[in-house]
């Protein structure tokens, strides 16, 4: 069974990460042993950019460009980047890319951070006995496929929904899911439009790696690959549209895992969620040479955290929004 092999690989990855305990990790990408942009060791190759496909590094460069506030020149967006030969797609949860598309986001550090957060919280996820899980903005399908595999063996009655605004992404996701023997219902839509009414309060787990790069507002309304990173002002435009939808969709015991960038002002995001009744904590924290990523978990406060005696502390500052789920 494909699924079992994948699960084993995941477990190995999990062992490397070290046990089921929730964790906070702060890895400088250039110090990590699985570094994908190592500048000294390894054979390097220059990627031939003869097609229109953007490599991960190119996507990253694009993001870096956006962050500098520069506009990439249309038609001159090919960038030659050297990268390590063994920097192939499968990293993290060892999900194979069976299909790609120039307009679909290839899994990147942010995707890996999100899956690592799910792996780090795997013990809780398995006990959670989720009935419905959802990913908003599935891109290549890397994250939703990983989630289905993580929960797969032990939680057979879980059903998955996933959405993307980019039609090409929904098709790539379908192939990725299929290749790994898992299923999710895929909907080509804006956030969860069309599902919002009937799925209210039904999602036990929602995962989101949103477009979070600070850009102009025009870019948010572009199509294709641009919408995978273009986050508008402070990278918050799409995030701020997603949060109220997530609040509607989550069940009383629902959890949200979301990737954010330091530039998104995560403490303010936690405050917004706090006002809706959610506690939060950082599951993974990771700095690469370009960005500082946080994966934050949110849950409705006052439900199980009080029972567990994990009452959110109320010290000052960022820490005050984090409970201990």
């Amino acid at each position: 069974m494909v699924q079992e092999e994948e699960a084993e690989k995941l477990e190995e990855r999990l062992r490397k990460l070290g046990v089921d305990e929730p964790m906070v990790e702060d890895v400088k990408e250039d110090e990590a042993d699985d570094d994908d942009d190592a500048d000294t060791e390894g054979d390097k190759e220059t990627i031939a950019n003869d097609g229109s496909k953007q490599s991960r590094s190119e996507q990253k460069s694009h993001k870096a460009i956006m962050k500098l506030g520069l506009k990439p020149v249309i038609g001159a967006s090919r960038i030659n980047i050297e990268r390590n030969k063994n920097d192939m797609f499968p990293r993290g949860a060892d999900i194979r890319l069976v299909s790609g598309h120039p307009e679909v986001y290839e899994p990147c550090d942010d995707s890996f951070a999100l899956v690592d957060a799910l792996l780090a919280d795997r013990g809780n996820l398995l006990n959670h006995k989720a009935r419905f899980c959802m990913e908003i903005g599935c891109g290549s399908g890397y994250v939703i496929t990983s989630l289905a595999i993580i929960l797969g063996k032990e939680n057979s009655g879980v059903h998955y929904f996933t959405s993307d605004i980019n039609p090409d992404a929904t098709r790539v996701t379908q192939k990725t899911l299929f290749a790994h023997g898992v299923h999710a219902e895929i909907i080509n839509t804006n956030i969860a439009s069309g599902l919002q009414k009937r799925l209210v309060g039904m999602m036990d787990v929602i995962v989101v790696n949103p477009p979070y790069v600070p850009t102009s507002e025009e870019e948010v309304n572009c199509k294709g690959i641009t919408v995978s990173w273009a986050g508008g002002h402070n990278g918050r435009t799409v995030i701020d549209r997603i949060l109220p939808v997530v609040d509607e969709l989550l069940s009383d015991r629902g959890w949200l895992y979301m990737v954010t960038l330091k530039a998104n002002n995560p403490s303010q995001i936690c405050l917004v969620m706090r006002k809706k009744g959610y506690a939060s904590r950082i599951v993974v924290q990771r700095s690469t040479e370009e960005e500082s990523l946080l994966v934050i978990k949110f849950w409705r406060e006052g439900l199980d955290d009080v029972n567990d005696g994990n009452i959110t502390s109320s010290s000052l500052g960022f820490g005050s929004w984090f409970g201990r789920k």
């Binding site: 009655g157 059903h159 219902e185 804006n190 069309g194 009937r198």
Partner: protein
């Protein structure tokens, strides 16, 4: 697209008040076996709009579901099996979902419904 999803989708076009259920037009579908889970079905039953499910199943030639259903039927293994089949095992591959109020068509291609709206529809 499973009929479960059909049961969860409604028209999102601006101004539409009653956008559910979407009328299903299916030109091709497949059946895929899914592990039977009675607990899931029992817990889902109250969330399911039964006439919408039975109607959609009928559209694809699966007429085994009763027109109406109530919770007492969940005791019957036979009923659960049919409910399971209709809800999870029939996948619509090609077709459309039609808004009952505005007539707007949402295409289904390769099993993926497209609920994207044009600018003037949001």
């Amino acid at each position: 697209m499973r009929l479960l999803t059909h049961n969860m989708l409604s028209s999102n076009v601006k101004g539409v008040v009653n956008g559910f259920p979407l009328r299903l037009e299916a030109s091709s579908w497949v059946e895929k076996e899914v592990e039977f889970n009675a607990d899931f079905l029992r817990s889902m039953f109250p969330k399911i709009d039964w006439p919408a499910l039975a109607g959609a199943a009928q559209k694809i030639g699966y007429a085994a579901l009763p027109d109406t259903a109530d919770a007492t039927m969940l005791e019957s293994e036979d009923f659960l099996k049919k409910f399971h089949h209709a809800l999870l095992e029939i996948h619509v591959e090609e077709g459309a979902l039609v808004c009952p109020e505005s007539g707007r068509r949402f295409p289904i291609n390769k099993g993926i419904p497209n609920m994207l709206l044009n600018e003037d529809e949001v």
